[in-house]
């Protein structure tokens, strides 16, 4: 396989590094770099930035499926050339952003985005922005579910929350991950795959990986070498294994997935910003949802149930996790009807730090 590299061919330069961002900045960004004074929300998907120089830059955000054909990307360029001085950017949630020097271009651009790309404009303010997600069955070697597809199905359900910016107490960030490795980030709400048993070792494959490396990667020290018919193979101590799948990433032989038993869980309250009480981790809310392609309706239902409770009782500027903390998890489970089970109780070394070590109760 790597023999391919030995073929004689013309070699390009090496170690170019990052393309120069300055070449790729809208002229108003170059001019007012570091001197932006304030911003205002114009309407869903549209903000205006005012520089100390008095310059104004309008930004229009469009939802994107992240996975696109070169043809689609070229169409995006066409629109940017027409209305946005030939510049654009993508956001940290894979949305598309056009920067406009002229206010008059806003509506034509939105029309073009809607019509020519089929993309909605929105995702700003107190909306549900794009779902950050992972590879899924499209490309990764480890997934137990799809990513781009399940996200498309979910965003269809949450479309109104994307194209409006005032239907929610605060901006809601959603993520999805397709195996327990969790390349998807922490988020206000995340839908993650959950495995339910130790890896089954495919005996035919054991030769292909470096056994010591596989043994070493297990965080629970659950894998041990075993002599069998003269060769060394591996075995997993079921009691120790925590179904994390680290070994599966190291060696495909350690098959952790199970199309019959893998399920999806919903996690709540992740937050990376240092606002107010600071960053927080997501917490298990709902477990055991079926992994149900092509549209995962049970997941959509559950998410909407949660968001509806949040909409009704959340306070302005209160992120999803802050809301649950204020009303208490007891109330959360009451409002949504999901059960609180022993599996919600932490069992890690840090478990005690999650206990209610106070007489503070809601009665």
């Amino acid at each position: 396989m790597t023999t391919a590299t030995t073929k004689v061919r013309k070699k390009g330069p090496r170690d170019n590094g990052a393309p120069d961002y300055k070449q790729n900045l809208h002229p108003l960004m170059v001019k007012n770099y570091g001197t932006w004074a304030y911003h205002e929300f114009v309407k869903p998907g549209v903000l205006v930035y005012v520089a100390e120089s008095g310059d104004k830059l309008w930004v229009v955000r469009a939802g994107s499926p992240r996975t696109m054909s070169v043809d689609k990307v070229r169409k995006i360029c066409d629109i940017a050339d027409r209305y946005a001085e030939g510049y654009l950017r993508f956001t940290s949630r894979a949305n598309l952003e056009f920067s406009l020097a002229k206010e008059a271009n806003i509506e034509p651009l939105i029309k073009a985005v809607n019509k020519e790309l089929g993309f909605p404009v929105g995702g700003t303010g107190h909306s549900i922005s794009n779902v950050t997600h992972t590879q899924g069955w499209l490309h990764c070697n480890l997934p137990g579910t799809d990513a781009a597809g399940s996200v498309k199905a979910l965003m269809d359900e949450l479309f109104e929350e994307f194209v409006n910016d005032d239907k929610l107490p605060m901006r809601v960030k959603i993520a999805a991950s397709c195996c327990q490795i969790n390349c998807g980030g922490q988020a206000d709400l995340s839908i993650n795959l959950q495995h339910h048993h130790p890896p089954r070792i495919k005996p035919e494959g054991v030769g292909i990986c470096e056994l010591p490396k596989v043994v070493a990667i297990c965080p629970a020290a659950a894998i041990r070498p075993r002599a069998k018919d003269g060769t060394t193979t591996l075995e997993v101590v079921d009691e120790k294994c925590m179904y994390c799948g680290a070994c599966h990433g190291q060696c495909p032989t350690m098959e952790i997935r199970d199309s019959e038993t893998d399920t999806l869980s919903i996690w709540l309250g992740g937050k990376t910003s240092s606002t107010r009480k600071g960053p927080a981790f997501m917490r298990l809310a709902v477990w055991g949802l079926p992994n149900n392609p092509p549209r995962w309706p049970e997941v959509g239902e559950a998410v909407k149930k949660i968001l509806s409770a949040y909409k009704q009782t959340g306070r302005k500027f209160e992120r999803l996790g802050e809301w649950v903390e204020r009303i208490g998890w007891k109330k959360f489970f009451e409002l949504t009807g999901f059960p609180f089970t022993k599996y919600h109780i932490d069992t890690t070394e840090m478990a005690r730090s999650t206990f209610n070590t106070s007489a503070q109760v809601r009665l």
């Binding site: 499926p65 070169v70 070229r74 940290s92 089929g118 070697n141 981790f281």
Partner: protein, 420 residues
């Protein structure tokens, strides 16, 4: 062949208001047969709830990463995707493009690959999906020719990511794009040639709103902040209070401050600056009246990552404040990074990220290892455990014994043992 491919299940993803990548890829499949076969395999995955990719390693000459190689288990049925690799490409910092740049990328990719792009991967790379063992190299070389470069993978520095920052944001406290580019280029060798115990990610956010998710998704979050007083425009504050009412300001600003350090005095805003922890909340709600202070810089943190193995961790404060404007400031930062990589690189286990390493050896020991003084801002609160080994207070006959946590300078220990 295309018409024989069953896409019955994924077709269900063509309805609904959100843009469908299926529709887009179907269109593309008309001129790229591999894409049709990809949809076929995807459909099979949907049917079986099973994945049909095997992963291995493929390297471009002189690079130790950047290509995620995939082999289809259904290559009998779908020969065009027998090999279907992803090329990770470093984007311009902040994901900004001129259409010229972007069209150039499209052209190269259209020429050599399947034409599927992801803008962008979770780490921040441009992902180009769909090359085989042959075209990967041709594509890479043409990318190089045009000034592009490969992203990171494996036990190496990963492609950096940052928020839009000063290019457009009124909150930004340092030049995220500039520093991202500087670090990428300074450490381009560490990015391309895996020599670390495990991956290392930087993410840079211009302010504590952390739009780049640095806290939880990078080993070394660098976050903009400021020293001294917040900037207050009392006219704009008064306008805001008038417009929204006092009660609104109390409910949505005053009572939300984590340290109770902002007050409404009549129509004026008063901030007890030494107790302001730069959480951004009040500024976010009143961006015209309130702005970060003028003496800007960064807070540097360490140790964030997602779940695998020890569970999620966040970055924790390493340097509460550092100016980040001049060459010397940049130099100070890279000196620190070098010391961290040195200590982590020589003492960490295989596959042990820097946060996991700190968990194992202890933050105190780690600070000694990298030559940084402890600072109370590194912790929320000092320890509550009385089981502490004060080396200075140990009697000489027990002196020099190792600490609670296993000694990390294992070479030294070994050397000592040998000397005996």
């Amino acid at each position: 062949m295309a018409d024989k491919i069953d896409t019955g299940m994924v077709d269900e993803l063509e309805s609904g208001p959100w843009p469908s990548f299926i529709t887009d890829l179907k269109e593309l499949s008309k001129r790229k047969p591999a894409v049709g076969q990809l949809l076929g395999q995807l459909n099979q995955s949907y049917k079986d709830k099973w994945n049909y990719w095997q992963g291995t390693v493929l390297n471009v000459d002189g690079y130790g990463g950047g290509i995620i190689a995939r082999y289809s288990e259904l290559s009998q049925q779908y020969p065009a995707i027998a090999q279907f690799h992803t090329i990770r490409v470093i984007p311009p910092a902040g994901w900004v493009y001129s259409t010229k740049t972007l069209r150039n990328l499209c052209d190269i990719w259209d020429k050599h690959g399947a034409g599927i792009m992801q803008m962008h991967g979770m780490t921040g790379d441009i992902l180009l999906l769909g090359t085989d063992n042959e075209t990967t190299f041709d594509c890479a070389e043409e990318l190089f020719e045009n000034g592009w470069d490969l992203g990171g993978s494996g036990g190496a520095l990963r492609t950096l990511a940052c928020c839009v920052g000063q290019a457009r944001c009124d909150m930004a406290c340092f030049d995220t794009m500039g520093l991202t580019t500087h670090l990428t280029n300074t450490y381009i060798s560490q990015l391309h040639r895996p020599e670390f115990p495990y991956k290392y990610k930087f993410k840079l956010s211009g302010c504590p709103n952390d739009c780049a998710c640095s806290m939880q998704r990078s080993d070394m979050p660098i976050i903009g902040t400021w020293r001294g007083p917040m900037q207050i425009n009392q006219d704009e504050a008064a306008k805001f209070v008038k417009e929204h009412g006092e009660q609104y300001v109390i409910d949505n600003v005053i009572t939300r401050c984590p340290t109770n350090c902002i007050k409404l005095e009549g129509k004026k805003i008063a901030v007890d600056d030494p107790n302001c922890v730069r959480c951004m909340h009040c500024i976010n709600v009143m961006p015209k009246a309130l702005r970060p202070g003028k003496d800007k810089g960064v807070t540097i943190l360490l140790g964030g990552k997602r779940t695998l193995k020890i569970g999620d961790t966040m970055g924790s404060v390493l340097v509460p404040f550092m100016k980040m404007e001049t060459e010397e400031d940049y130099q100070k930062l890279t000196d620190l990074v070098d010391r961290i990589w040195d200590f982590w690189g020589s003492n960490a286990h295989d596959h042990e990220r820097v946060g996991e390493f700190i968990n194992r050896v202890g933050l105190g020991t780690f600070l000694e290892g990298i030559g940084l003084e402890p600072d109370p801002q590194m912790v929320r609160a000092p320890t509550s455990s009385p089981y502490i080994k004060f080396e200075e207070l140990a009697p000489s006959r027990f002196g020099g014994e190792s600490k609670h946590n296993p000694a990390v300078r294992s070479e030294e220990v070994e050397a000592m043992e040998r000397a005996e």
